[in-house]
Symmetry: C2
Subunit: 210 residues, 2 copies
DNA sequence: GTCTATAGATGGATAGAC
DNA sequence: GTCTATCCATCTATAGAC
């Protein structure tokens, strides 16, 4: 879908993608002009049309490519057969990836509205494929009695939203390192599905009897 | 800030807000023209300028007004002194409110980028005031030993993100009622901070010893 | 307070030279 | 493959009649 004309692996092609990613993430697709993107690359606006047929195709390429890479990386993550460990591995992967690819993740959520129907559907299919990975872990874990959850689909959406939220507040150089943040989220997610360390028990029981 | 000219409580003023809210939520601020808003109200574009000085003021009014009403409603919610109950009450309030005001919530997150610096700051201050309510509940609860959390600020952001996420997938007429969804989120949030029902314990211990 | 009409700017996209 | 030049649509915002 991406390389439309005779431009395969051109330097400009990649630079246009990168500039568009940067600008879309900061100002939004609709607020960014082709001239701005071109200026950031150092070419004239007309030159972009040698690599993308129009602005919409540029956005669509960014989003579908992002989803494909996310799924590919997800499938390459370490996985355990034990639901408890599989969930922890998923959480670590998701947090890391969503911190590493902040701009891609951001526009993949914010710019869905600006995709034309066909492009929208393509991204949605990929997104659902990704979300299904977590839902299956939850379903299998619940069936095996490893998790205490009321509803696997909702739990999946809730966990994804919780984790992806890191994208909105995390900045490098803040109070916490990426590793620390990862640990905090792992613990919260595990607890949210009913997996906890013994120490957690005491406080709750004390509260219960207060 | 809102009523700029001599228009206090005009019918058109409210209808313009309503139309803009609807259109911004569906297509995005930058993609919606003053003409479209006017057409939805049934007036000409120029008429909008009798109520708002420009498009930016219209967006800003929608977002700050939403944040003010959110905070007002939040302060009017039932509250317990017991951290465990206070958290549950906050969760119920947040879920209900974010389902009831789906469009307002949506643009309050999506259109922040399109606010000019001063308007952006105003909304951010209000948002932080709201988020602080949850953070204080978590901090107090952790201090009292009611919650098992590693970091109150991150836990707060994680919970807010988890709950607000309902906005992206919930549709009336779906598989679950609002009440059912509320219960699922209450349970997940309580568990995420280490508060759980006894039954949850067994599964985890079994998994631990598997 | 709303209308019509329009100024003035900027947008996406194309044509044709090099 | 990039440039310059430009078409044409559309946008925000204003002016002045009613």
């Amino acid at each position: 879908m991406a390389r439309t004309v005779g431009s395969v692996g051109t330097k400009t092609f990649d630079e246009v993608r990168k500039a568009a990613l940067y600008l879309f993430a900061r100002h939004g697709y609709a607020s960014v002009s082709m001239r701005q993107i071109a200026a950031r690359v150092g070419v004239q606006a007309g030159a972009i049309y040698n690599h993308f047929p129009n602005k919409q195709a540029l956005l669509s390429d960014l989003l579908t490519q992002h989803m494909r890479e996310l799924i590919e990386a997800c499938e390459a993550r370490p996985t355990s057969k034990l639901p408890l460990n599989a969930l922890e591995q998923f959480v670590r992967f998701h947090i890391r990836y969503h911190i590493d690819r902040a701009d891609e993740v951001f526009i993949a959520y914010m710019e869905l509205r600006n995709l034309e129907p066909e492009n929208f559907r393509e991204v949605q299919v990929l997104r659902q494929r990704y979300e299904r990975v977590l839902r299956d872990i939850l379903r299998d874990g619940a069936k095996a009695g490893a998790f205490e959850i009321s509803d696997a689909p909702v739990a999946g959406m809730a966990i994804i939203a919780m984790l992806t939220g890191v994208n909105t507040w995390f900045r490098y150089g803040g109070r916490l390192s990426v590793s620390q943040i990862e640990e905090i989220y792992v613990k919260m997610v595990m607890q949210s599905v009913g997996v906890f360390e013994p120490t957690a028990l005491l406080g709750a029981l004390m509260e219960e009897n207060a």
